[in-house]
């Protein structure tokens, strides 16, 4: 059975419980006290020590909020009637998204790894064996989603294990367990796929026609990656969530590069041989 996540960003309230639960269960170190000044999100991104990251995306009605802004007036001024009777004030709305390793079907990081440290485990999750990784770091630029990262203090690469240890004990991953809104769902990928389609259909019915599933072979899991076992329901363009619309499997062209190099080697050999001619 292949397990995975379905992260429904439409119900996420940005509480960051998943981030904390993940850090706690996996005993990940703190990332330091960084203040971005950009939003309430000071985690910024996924890394070797942050395996769940909740992005805070502000949508303040395409209005530039700098200088003298009367926030109270903006908050009282209802500008938009949302489907289902909800109202949106001029301060706009927030979108939250709990990002995580996509557990790609054809995982670029796994293909890149020269030691064979990255494997697919019995739950069909992409798993780094920490006792084998030698910290070459080649998986890092291979990941099309910027997930996997080398931890400088440790030397090795780390990322979400999909709570391999918990799964083996029959538990769901810590983030899914902690999520109070069930934005993070865990289970069999086939079930989750159905669930995602139902949910998107439901959202479309309610009038939110922009909702879609990210992590399919059509969006997000493209270019030879074959989809992701960890999918998302998104309401905006992927780039808004710092995700690529059309990523690709970087190793796809390696064979082509080798053939081109062989041709080049032959040409250069001929050039050198020509130089010997008197």
């Amino acid at each position: 059975m292949a397990t995975g996540f379905l992260t429904d960003t439409t119900v996420c309230i940005g509480c960051k419980a998943c981030e904390v639960a993940c850090k706690q269960w996996n005993q990940l170190p703190a990332d330091g006290y960084e203040f971005t000044g950009d939003s309430y999100d000071n985690t910024k991104q996924l890394s070797g020590s942050t395996w769940r990251h909740v992005a805070f995306i502000e949508n303040p009605k395409k209005r530039r909020l700098t200088g003298d802004v009367d926030l109270v007036a903006l908050a009282e001024d209802v500008t938009e009637q949302l489907p289902g009777g909800a109202e949106l004030d001029a301060l706009g709305r927030w979108a939250f998204m709990s990002d995580v390793c996509k557990h790609c079907v054809e995982a670029p990081c796994q293909q890149a790894c020269p030691t064979g440290s990255i494997i697919r485990n019995e739950f069909d999750n992409v798993y780094i064996q920490p006792d084998i990784c030698n910290g070459c770091g080649y998986c890092v630029p291979a990941c099309p989603y910027g997930v996997i990262t080398q931890v400088p203090e440790d030397g090795r690469a780390f990322k979400c294990t999909l709570c391999y240890d918990r799964q083996r004990d029959g538990l769901e991953p810590a983030c899914a367990k902690a999520c109070p809104t069930n934005s993070i769902m865990f289970g069999d990928v086939e079930d989750l796929k159905e669930l995602a389609e139902q949910r998107v259909a439901e959202l479309h019915n309610k009038g939110y026609t922009q909702a879609y599933v990210y992590g399919t072979p059509e969006v997000g899991g493209t270019g030879g990656i074959g989809g992701n076992h960890s999918k998302f329901i998104l309401m905006d363009e992927p780039e808004t969530y710092n995700l690529p619309k059309h990523p690709f499997l970087p190793q796809e062209k390696f064979r082509g590069g080798v053939i081109a190099s062989a041709v080049a080697a032959t040409v250069l050999g001929a050039v050198v041989a020509w130089a010997f001619k008197d």
């Binding site: 939003s39 991104q45 070459c136 770091g137 291979a142 808004t240 710092n242 990523p247 970087p250 080049a264």
Partner: protein
């Protein structure tokens, strides 16, 4: 829109309140507060230097093997080439292991052979080529009397190590060491590298051969050894290789298109235009055409060698800038430009 705003590196230094990009009318790009969507490689100086000496070793072996096969037996050339390859193949693993996060686990590279992982292919190629080069150098050393004159072992080495056979066997592996440095970069998600998958291996190979030819002629010039013909051939081959390299660099730039921008950024432009285009291509080519002189040849060699190193630094630094630029990655990974499985090789 300033570079810093996009790179996400100095966002804290930006005076403007930064809401979501959409709210800032000056910013049309969509991304998450300018934070890079992919992570750059951590590689520091060891990797570009390794790329440089690896290419040099591969090129030197190629030249001496072609000379051998064409029946051009020049002892000085063979000697210079054998020892050069040996030294590069000793330094390469040292640099690579140095760069690992867990150097003591370097042997894990030999745990599996994965043809789909360019890094695995590189490790194995280095192992095979390094060992063959070691055998060839051992034979050379025995012949040169470095292992003692009347040593049984030395005589056995000369007798038992099949020079020509091993050279030919090592040739494709060595060439792969040279070109795979480029393919290794292109098999990542970094737009500038990935976009150029077709020419990345060839351009690194050509540049490696150019540095190798320069190195060999430098050694022969400085030690005043080798036949006159060898030097003549080296110069001619150098000129031709520089031409091939120039064509490949132009082709690479054309293929990279808008994603070649990092090569012309303030940080990389001295390395790329100054170091590579002028230092490794134009200047040595100019020096090698026209009347030949020993002085001119030595300067040309030095320029091409340093230029080759600059080229590798330019490619690595440029790749880092490319990976840190959300706009570059998102335009690249948005559809048409991304490599597709159904693309022809």
């Amino acid at each position: 829109m300033s570079e810093e705003a996009v790179s996400g590196q100095q966002r804290n230094g930006r005076p403007k309140t930064s809401h979501h990009p959409e709210t800032d009318p000056e910013r049309k790009d969509k991304n998450y507060y300018g934070i890079p969507p992919i992570k750059h490689a951590h590689w520091t100086w060891q990797i570009p230097i390794y790329f440089w000496i690896g290419g040099l070793g591969a090129g030197a072996h190629m030249f001496s093997t072609v000379a051998q096969l064409l029946g051009h037996e020049d002892e000085a050339l063979q000697r210079a080439s054998r020892y050069t390859v040996l030294v590069t193949m000793i330094l390469s693993p040292i640099l690579l292991i140095w760069d690992l996060g867990r150097p003591e686990r370097f042997l894990n590279m030999m745990r599996v052979l994965k043809l789909r992982s360019p890094m695995s292919v590189q490790s194995w190629s280095l192992l095979v080529f390094g060992n063959l080069a070691g055998l060839l150098a051992a034979r050379q050393a025995a012949k040169d009397g470095l292992l003692g004159r009347d040593n049984v072992l030395a005589r056995l080495a000369v007798r038992l190590i099949p020079d020509r056979l091993l050279s030919v066997l090592a040739l494709p592996v060595g060439l792969n060491v040279g070109s795979n440095t480029g393919n290794l970069l292109s098999a990542t998600s970094v737009p500038m590298w990935a976009r150029n998958w077709l020419f990345m291996g060839p351009v690194f190979l050509a540049s490696g051969l150019s540095t190798a030819l320069s190195w060999l002629s430098l050694v022969l010039n400085l030690t005043r050894s080798g036949e006159a013909k060898t030097l003549r051939v080296l110069h001619r081959a150098e000129r031709a290789t520089i031409l091939v390299e120039a064509v490949l660099i132009v082709a690479s730039l054309a293929r990279m298109g808008r994603w070649s921008k990092p090569l012309f950024s303030r940080e990389v432009v001295p390395l790329f235009v100054g170091g590579t285009l002028i230092g490794a291509i134009l200047a040595p080519f100019a020096l090698l055409t026209g009347r030949e002189s020993r002085g001119k040849s030595i300067i040309a060699s030095l320029l091409a060698l340093v230029g080759g190193l600059m080229f590798r630094f330019a490619m690595i630094r440029g790749g880092r800038i490319s990976a840190d630029d959300p706009e570059a990655y998102f335009t690249f990974a948005s559809g048409e430009s991304a490599p597709q499985p159904e693309d022809a090789v």
